[in-house]
């Protein structure tokens, strides 16, 4: 599509055009330059999420009150049976972290997908049409940002019950604003570019322009924002758990483990440290990949290696 329009024009190549055509070249080189560390963390995360029943040594929700708060195996009192120790109900921490990856994957990826889709869509609409539509969407964004997410969380989860699905819904409803502003900005400058103008002149309908011309070009930024947001979603789930609105027990979630474990922090450090590390590693990996993607996909940065 891009090739066709740029081939038709004999005008000066604008940055947006070169970005479009170089993109496909770069996709091939991508796999060679992925930051290895970050990618392997994500890989481990996905493996844990999909293969938890095979990887986890114990049932994550099985209680064993007699073995509560046992330390990790290298400390006195710990056993090889529970490598990372147990929580206050005697559940194996390692298994709960492995199963917790599922929730993090869903909350992180699906949440981001939902928020990103809504936010990006609204962003390109606002940026392309401008004027009244832009104003309405921007004011909607302002309203969303002004409402405390706790209030919305309690309202929604109070009304439809605490569950993974509902937490993701709340995330989608409250977090889309982060995308809209930035995408709108990009869409605005894109809309003024020559190849979009040509597309309009050549009879392209607005929804086609949006979906076929503008959307793919903002997708870079959207994807970058999304990878950076994955960590944020997990953190927000943790905050919900702290307030008692999170994914319901006994399902293991990293955020929930942090929230519960904070009471035992001074007597059983392992109940918070390991889930905390898991969150940190995931956020780190997500951000590194996001950064790397941004650097890779932005032609301006190609000049400096």
């Amino acid at each position: 599509m891009f090739n066709k329009t740029s081939a038709d024009l004999s005008s000066v190549e604008s940055p947006e055009d070169s970005r479009g055509s170089e993109q496909r070249l770069k996709l091939r080189k991508l796999s060679r330059r992925i930051p290895k560390g970050a990618a392997s963390i994500i890989l481990v995360l996905l493996l844990c999420a999909f293969f938890s029943p095979w990887l986890a040594p114990h049932n994550p929700i099985e209680q064993n009150l007699g073995a509560a708060l046992k330390p990790p195996f290298w400390q006195g009192g710990g056993t090889m049976d529970h490598l990372l120790g147990t929580d206050n109900l005697g559940r194996d921490i390692l298994s709960r972290i492995i199963y917790g990856a599922r929730i993090s994957v869903i909350v992180g990826f699906v949440g981001v997908l939902l928020a990103g889709a809504v936010g990006t869509l609204l962003g390109i609409i606002a940026g392309y049409f401008g004027g009244k539509i832009d104003a309405v969407i921007m004011r909607l964004t302002d309203i969303m940002l002004s409402l405390p997410f706790i209030l919305i969380g309690i309202a929604i989860i109070g009304a439809i019950g605490p569950s993974l699905t509902n937490v993701v819904i709340v995330l989608g409803i409250t977090q889309w604003v982060g995308y809209t502003r930035i995408i709108r900005f990009e869409a605005m400058s894109l809309s003024k570019s020559e190849f979009i103008e040509m597309a309009i002149i050549s009879g392209c309908k607005w929804w086609r322009v949006l979906l076929v011309h503008i959307l793919p070009n903002v997708l870079n930024s959207a994807v970058v924002l999304a990878t950076l947001d994955v960590g944020k979603m997990i953190i927000i789930e943790a905050a919900f758990s702290f307030l008692g609105l999170g994914v319901k027990p006994p399902t293991a979630t990293w955020g929930g483990m942090l929230a519960d474990g904070r009471l035992y922090m001074t007597v059983a450090w392992w109940t918070v440290t390991f889930p905390g590390l898991a969150i940190f590693a995931t956020v780190l990996a997500g951000n590194l990949i996001g950064d790397w993607l941004r650097d890779e996909l932005d032609p301006r940065h190609q000049l400096k290696v």
Binding site: G130, R139, S146, L147, L151, A155, I235, F242, M265, N287
Partner: protein
């Protein structure tokens, strides 16, 4: 320009109105304040009396109309729980929140902006990596956890600072640091990417070719142009933080509006919920408006179609 300001001002009013109505509806949906105001032993007559006294027995739309009318006159009603007007409660707590937010943002930009600039200049080196990893760290810990850890380390173990409370400067250090974690992480990364973009600009290359010393290039050209965007970012963060430092205020017993809003949500104290949300929204909208005006005034490239 003048027309633009007026337009934005009117739109801001609409945003506030939208916030008022939505908050009103959400509050009514989430539960019954009378149930929470009376002990379990209260008689049905007591409950009926209180319901009528609080005006909760009238149909919803009527309550909404009456409420909006009062708000127009500046009357946000009387708290259900406290014997005080809702607005007075918010006013009392606002200075504490403003104080905390300003200090937090100061901490954040004091650390984040230099970090972002240095990382951008030294892009790709180990300094960049360390800087961005530190920033990431700030983004990957939930606020409640950071706060509790800081109390544990600096108050209990080291005894350098008081664990909580409101008073002189030493009381604000830990809560401000907790808040600053997230703000500085975002600010550092955005600063870095903005500075990177600026460094690639033609005028920078031109200045370098002219032989202008690097230091001048950075301060005069790069910073001046990124200042607007960074100012934009920081102002927005400030707006968000003022109303949103809920969990931090809770943990540090900081008497701000964040904690007030949390307590009022839990006790379904509608007038106070509404007052806190509206005030926080007002602050946010005003800051937003100012930022947009400043942005337009100084950057004529970005005008609406």
């Amino acid at each position: 320009m003048g027309a633009y300001i007026v337009r934005r001002f009117l739109q801001s009013l609409i945003v506030i109105l939208g916030v008022i109505v939505i908050t009103f509806i959400i509050s009514r949906v989430i539960g019954d304040p009378v149930a929470l105001l009376l002990p379990p032993e209260a008689s049905p007559e007591q409950r009926a009396y209180l319901t009528k006294d609080l005006g909760l027995d009238r149909p919803l739309y009527l309550q909404l109309v009456v409420y909006v009318g009062k708000v127009m006159k500046g009357d946000f009603g009387h708290s259900f729980r406290h014997q005080e007007s809702a607005m007075k409660l918010v006013w009392e707590r606002l200075p504490a929140s403003l104080y905390l937010s300003f200090v937090a943002v100061l901490f954040a930009i004091g650390v984040a902006i230099p970090l972002g600039i240095i990382s951008a200049i030294k892009r790709g080196t180990i300094i960049d990596r360390i800087g961005m990893t530190l920033a990431l760290f700030g983004q990957s810990i939930p606020a409640f956890w950071a706060g509790i850890m800081l109390i544990f380390i600096f108050a209990v173990q080291l005894g350098w600072l008081p664990p909580s409370g409101y008073g002189g400067f030493k009381y604000v250090i830990l809560p401000a640091t907790t808040l600053a974690f997230f703000v500085s992480a975002a600010t550092a990364r955005l600063t870095r990417s903005n500075v990177l973009d600026a460094l690639d600009m033609d005028y920078v290359r031109y200045a370098r070719l002219k032989g202008v010393p690097e230091f001048v290039v950075i301060t005069r050209h790069v910073l001046r142009n990124t200042f607007i965007t960074i100012f934009n970012i920081v102002a927005l963060q400030l707006g968000l933080v003022i109303g949103g430092a809920v969990i931090t205020e809770f943990i540090f017993s900081w008497p701000g509006i964040g904690r007030l809003s949390l307590e009022s949500i839990y006790s379904r104290d509608y007038p106070v919920i509404q007052a806190t949300v509206v005030i926080a929204a007002l602050i946010f909208v005003v800051i937003n408006l100012l930022v947009d005006i400043v942005y337009i005034a100084t950057d004529p490239r970005v005008k609406k179609n």
